[in-house]
């Protein structure tokens, strides 16, 4: 159970280089072998003046967090065996392009609790991560809702 007092707490800032090898790996992992996702000449051939990012490509930020994807949940004291990813949302404000350097900052946007379907109290934690590019512009706002289910009876 996470205290509501963590609302507004900042969970750290990391710098994320937007690299072609990670873009190529992600495209392959997502069963999409279109070269446009990582090859500048393929992107140019369809009319892009840069390599565009896949909608969820900024997930690679987890590589740059000292404790990886689970670091935030662990830092908040969640029981990792009971944590589910409930929702994710992206607001795209400026295109993210191969070669960008992003600064990602995560804060706890909200904490709430409610009765779970199978009994026991569920805690919902909303994390917001902003990605600011090397030009100082907010390029992307991402929200994640983590759910800590009640302890097993």
């Amino acid at each position: 159970m996470v205290a509501h007092s963590v609302e507004g707490k900042e969970l750290g800032t990391v710098r994320v280089p937007v690299e072609s090898s990670k873009f190529a790996e992600l495209a392959r992992a997502l069963h999409d072998d279109d070269l446009v996702w990582h090859d500048p000449s393929a992107a140019a051939a369809v009319g892009f003046d840069h390599v565009p990012a896949q909608p969820t490509a900024t997930v690679v930020v987890d590589h740059w967090r000292p404790d990886g994807a689970l670091g935030h949940a662990a830092a908040l004291g969640l029981d990792l065996t009971r944590v589910l990813h409930g929702e994710a949302a992206w607001e795209f404000l400026e295109p993210i392009r191969l070669g960008d350097e992003l600064t990602a900052t995560t804060t706890v946007a909200g904490v709430s609790s409610r009765e779970g379907k199978r009994g026991g109290e569920m805690t919902l934690i909303t994390l917001e991560t902003t990605f600011v590019n090397q030009r100082g512009n907010l390029a992307l706002r991402r929200q994640d809702t983590l759910i800590e289910t009640g302890p097993r009876a």
Partner: protein
Amino acid sequence: MTTSGAATLPVAPVRLREDDTMAVETVGPLTRTDFVRYAGASGDFNPIHHDELLAQNAGMPSVFGMGMLHAGILGTRLARWVGPENIRTYSVRFTGQVWPDDELTFSGRVARIERDGGDALAHIELGVASQRGEEVLSAQATVLVES
């Protein structure tokens, strides 16, 4: 099934009408290797997605896929349909687990078109379903389309 290396992505906003649908695509059967490949690509090394013994000790029948894997697959299909840089918002809700050997079907439909100043925005509803007929993810997107 993957898309061809010669496939293209739209750059400019595309023309869409209410009830237009995305090309339906099925991906799978997914393997544990698919989960591990996504772990390496994304940086999500939660062992519940790759360590069979740990998953079973946590009460699961086996490892299961990360939600962000099928959210990401759906995201690239949306981008292929409407152009990656025309997407204004994309949100997903994880509603079911994805297990090894699952075959997932990705779909989307334009719910409505709205004017936003001089722009036209399509509100798109998307989903991912397993071969069991279970919805494992529901999603919404707003997309800039040709006015």
